[in-house]
């Protein structure tokens, strides 16, 4: 959509700076969403606060009611400033080794995410290399890999824990394996696409230079797969985070963002749930940022211009 739609409606329009054109809508909508959130918080918490006032037989005005809805201890919907406040307290208010610190829980989830992502990405790439080189595998295995994603893996999570627990694996690794199962798929699909992206002409020219299969792989297929690979790695690292969080739910984990969600839901600590969600979002953004940085770095190494 270009700005022509605007100028057609109002010919004598001021020319806005491109930054304004780009970010103004985002800022306006974010502000609108926050406003809606506050209104919703007042409406949803109204009954709880009114009941509390009437129980204590305190005389109250509408103003008291609104202030009460925005600072209730166990609201249905906490107001944004409450969430931010709790988030800040949980992050900065405790030493990072304390089980009450959100940093500690984030680290528990993050370590499972990293291990799971490494396992999943390695497995996905190996699978893609095999599939690209063996026609039999491509025909027999690829349909099953796609089917494997139709299985709601979370359903399998409790069993993975039970089976791995029986052979003596506990703690981090079962979570990482569930997260790896969730995140290998985009890597495989992206890598298969990337590894088979060189034109037949390019492969033919490698053959006329009598390149060995290994040389064709390292000098042609692998470099051309790198951009595809990073696109799918960005998708898969967030999936891996989701996998690590979700794997904590059925495993009865004591620590981690998933455990925090579960505890918050058991004890009705709404604000704690929201703060954990904020932490998860911050982690997701950070992880994508790391992969994007790595992408830029690799692109520079491969000689791309900024």
């Amino acid at each position: 959509m270009t700005s022509s739609t605007f100028s057609a409606a109002r010919p004598a329009q001021i020319r806005w700076h491109p930054t304004v054109v780009r970010y103004a809508p985002v800022v306006v909508i974010v502000l609108a969403l926050i406003a809606i959130w506050y209104v919703a918080a007042v409406l949803m918490n109204r009954n709880i606060v009114r009941d509390a006032f009437e129980r204590d037989e305190i005389h109250y005005t509408t103003g008291d009611l609104i202030v009460g809805t925005l600072s209730a201890e166990r609201p249905l919907l906490p107001a944004p400033h409450q969430v931010i406040q709790t988030f800040a307290e949980d992050v900065f208010g405790w030493p990072i080794t304390s089980p009450r610190s959100l940093v500690y829980h984030s680290w528990v989830t993050l370590s499972a995410t990293f291990v799971g992502f490494l396992l999943g990405a390695t497995f996905g790439i190996i699978l893609a290399v095999l599939i690209v080189h063996a026609r039999t595998l491509q025909k027999s295995l690829l349909p099953w890999i796609i089917c494997s994603q139709m299985v709601p893996i979370l359903a399998v999570a409790p069993i993975v824990i039970v089976v791995l627990g029986a052979i003596g694996l506990r703690g981090l690794l079962p979570k990482a394996i569930i997260s790896a199962y969730l995140c290998f798929f985009p890597v495989t699909i992206g890598a298969v696409k990337g590894l088979s992206s060189p034109d037949p002409i390019q492969r033919d020219i490698m053959r006329t230079w009598s390149a060995t299969p290994a040389q064709i792989f390292w000098k042609l297929r692998w470099p051309s797969a790198v951009p595809f690979l990073f696109t799918s790695l960005k998708v898969s690292i967030t999936i891996s985070l989701i996998g690590a969080i979700v794997a904590e739910l059925p495993t009865g984990a004591q620590a981690g963002i998933g455990a925090r969600l579960l505890a918050g839901s058991y004890y009705g600590q709404t604000v704690q749930i929201w703060a954990a969600l904020v932490a998860a979002s911050v982690l997701a953004v950070g992880l994508i940022g790391i992969v994007s940085l790595a992408e830029r770095w690799v692109a520079q190494l491969m000689g791309a211009r900024a």
Binding site: V28, I29, V30, S140, M150, A155, P158, A284
Partner: protein
């Protein structure tokens, strides 16, 4: 002698089958193969088929190999029915299993190398290869579990799961209805249509679109399943909370994809619509929406898997003692893993059917798209 290593491998497979007659079948005292004349004959026949497959023409060898594989699968499974072999199997059993594996691999490899001219035949082959592969994986699973005597609380055999699956259809149907029909489907329909309509409105009003697209992209990357405990708190333990989680999860991918799709129509086409004097509504119906169809179906496919995940996660936070996720977590705690696997099979079948229906609908409506014009 072309393909000589393949011939050698076929002979090795034939020898492997014969090992059943020579090597001990079990570490426990048991009847050897010569005391079981029917199985002995079948083993010999399978070995002969493998040896024959090495000698006949490649196309014919596919049928010969597959016949041999079916025969040797039957032999090994029949041997494992004997309680003095199941759990105590030794090389007399494992070598034939290995031989079957090798022969099956060669057969499928030869089948994959066939390039028929007829399109229908090639489609049947493309379907048969993964099916054969899958069936063989199940065979290996069954043989491994029974041969090594893996306790069923750890890893039940496929046959035990199948018995449970067909043995308690009422329980499975109730769980399926609760999770899939009530939670997933209702949430999916509401979430996808809401995302779609918001995208259409955002496309009409450029300002809204420019604001929503980055936000939608951002939110799509967040672990939204985390809202599950909040939804359970708001909507209670029954299906509305599951549907609500599914709505939240499916909304953003639909919004982002539809918006991208509506913007996919080219400048020339838009100019053409304008030169026809088409209004916004007409342009939407005749140009923007058809151009957005592949993107919309992409979102529908992504959402079909996301929706299932969302509903099952929500069940971990509270259910009315029904539903696939609930049953799995309860039965896993009671170590009734055959029930758990039966539920997983149910969920997998439902998920595949769901995805398949969406994919078929895509083929029927966007048959004009370049990716289908082959």
């Amino acid at each position: 002698m072309t393909l000589s290593w393949q011939r050698l491998t076929f002979f090795a497979a034939a020898l492997g089958m014969l090992a059943a007659a020579v090597l001990p079948l079990s570490s426990e005292p048991t009847l050897d193969l010569f005391a079981r004349p029917g199985l002995l004959a079948a083993t010999m026949l399978a070995a002969a088929l493998y040896a024959g497959a090495a000698l006949v023409a490649p196309r014919l060898s596919i049928a010969v190999t597959l016949a041999g594989v079916v025969l040797s699968c039957c032999v090994t499974l029949a041997l494992l029915r004997d309680p003095s072999i199941a759990g105590y199997a030794t090389w007399g059993l494992w070598l034939p299993v290995l031989a079957t594996w090798i022969a099956a691999w060669l057969g499928v490899a030869r089948l994959a190398a066939v390039k028929p001219h007829d399109k229908a035949v090639s489609r049947i082959i493309d379907l048969a290869i993964p099916l054969l592969f899958g069936a063989f994986v199940f065979y290996l699973w069954e043989v491994a579990v029974r041969g090594f005597g893996v306790p069923s609380v750890l890893f039940p055999a496929p046959s035990a799961i199948a018995v449970r699956f067909f043995g308690s259809p009422w329980m499975l149907w109730q769980d399926f209805f609760q999770t899939f029909i009530l939670g997933v489907l209702i949430g999916y329909v509401i979430g996808c249509s809401a995302g779609f309509f918001v995208a259409v409105v955002a496309h009409r009003y450029t300002f809204l679109g420019r604001g929503l697209l980055p936000i939608g992209n951002f939110v799509s990357a967040l672990p939204i399943v985390g809202v599950a405990p909040i939804m359970v708190m708001w909507f209670g333990f029954d299906w509305p909370s599951k549907a609500a989680v599914v709505v939240v999860i499916t909304f953003f991918p639909m919004l982002v994809n539809t918006l991208a799709g509506l913007n996919a129509a080219g400048h020339i086409e838009r100019d053409l619509m304008r030169s026809y004097g088409a209004g916004h509504r007409q342009t939407l119906a005749k140009l923007y929406l058809p151009a957005a169809m592949p993107f919309i179906f992409n979102a529908l496919k992504i959402n079909s898997t996301l929706a299932f995940i969302g509903a099952i996660v929500a069940e971990f936070f509270g259910t009315p003692t029904l539903g696939i996720g609930f049953r799995i977590s309860i039965e896993a705690g009671r170590m009734a893993l055959d029930v758990v696997w039966a539920e997983i099979a149910l969920a997998a079948l439902a998920g595949m059917a769901f995805y398949g229906i969406v994919a078929l609908a895509e083929r029927a409506t966007t048959f004009w798209h370049p990716s289908y014009r082959t």
